[in-house]
Symmetry: C2
Subunit: 184 residues, 2 copies
DNA sequence: CTGTACGTACAGTTTTTTCTGTACGTACTT
DNA sequence: AAGTACGTACAGAAAAAACTGTACGTACAG
């Protein structure tokens, strides 16, 4: 035994866990495996090397790596004399976490807020409209309350994301305290 | 115009946004639409009413509602004299957020931590093994460092989830200061 | 300018997921 | 006890997503 096999097995298990984990967050297992593979590389990889590493088509590598780029989980890297594109896994998982959820959540937040505000502005007038039946008005009132509190929630979520982006969250939950949690 | 149509359109837009948003988080659009529909109901619905509301099969309603139950986004409700199961949307989105991510993240965290610790315990011995080539040892050392810092990150994430679950997060990012009376 | 290496758009295929209808077990009603 | 209403397991159908190979545009080399 020269340790190569052992290392390989140990890595494989972690890559597997990473990809399953990412899958939980709505990312394909293949894309997760690609990230995992890149994570354990010593240096950046070309598309052809990834293809080799995962035994998949180059096309897949191209699209997968693009997804990872959009999530900022990998970065494109420059190396003198190398014509092929090189990609490197982002190694700082705190940063990865922040980017991932900032990107995902912001998108959802603005989508929802604008839909809700638009609907709110359509429902509001019903309350003062003579032609609208009392029963409908009652429903409108309830809906307005629901939408108002939903928007309030999204405002909170936005502030939470702000605290991720600005890293202020680490003042509240400090990084690598490295002491085990007292409970659980 | 009696306002009914307007209300319907306004709701439909929000339901659409909600389901797209949930889809972003890895939940089917259908399940998202079901949650949205339940959210705007005045009271709890039976499976047959959902089926009617969404124009889908009862089987689908059964499985979708189960997913929502697991995510604690709906609750089963009991009403005297009613034999059918009744389901009500959880209206507090702060709570929904907390439950959703607590459930999802905890699963991923423990999965990853145990995989990493196991791999770590396999890699560590390589360092002191005479038969392992220096080159492999070098890689092992790098991997150990990576895994150690990854585990540290997961510990942080665990503490973040703790702060969600215990609601301490609201001390750091306060809920909306609007009308609603808050109980501390 | 011509030839070559590279990344990716696109169309077709395979795989996975979602959805439906039937059938069955359970529990309540009479 | 039989009859009925209900929810869901299961298998197959339909839809969606992931994956691949070909073909093409671009950039650089000679």
């Amino acid at each position: 035994m020269n340790g190569e096999k052992e290392l390989e097995i140990a890595r494989e298990r972690v890559i597997d866990a990473i990809s399953k984990n990412m899958n939980l967050y709505g990312v394909t297992e293949s894309i997760g495996r690609l990230y995992g593979a890149l994570y354990f590389q010593e240096g950046p990889l070309t598309l052809d090397e990834m293809k080799e590493e995962l035994g998949m088509s180059k096309t897949s590598m191209s699209t997968s790596v693009r997804s990872l780029l959009e999530l900022k989980m990998v970065g494109k890297v420059w190396k003198k004399g190398v014509r092929k594109d090189l990609y490197l896994a982002e190694a700082d998982w705190y940063q990865t976490f922040i980017d991932f959820f900032t990107i995902k959540w912001r998108a959802g937040i603005s989508l929802n807020i604008s839909a809700m505000q638009k609907s709110l502005s359509e429902i509001q007038p019903l309350l003062n409209n003579e032609q609208v039946e009392p029963h409908i008005k009652e429903q409108a009132k309830i809906d307005i309350e629901k939408l108002t509190s939903a928007i309030e929630y999204y405002d909170w979520l936005n502030r939470l994301v702000d605290s991720f982006e600005s890293k202020e969250i680490f003042e509240f939950i400090p990084k690598g305290e490295n002491k085990k949690t007292e409970k659980s």
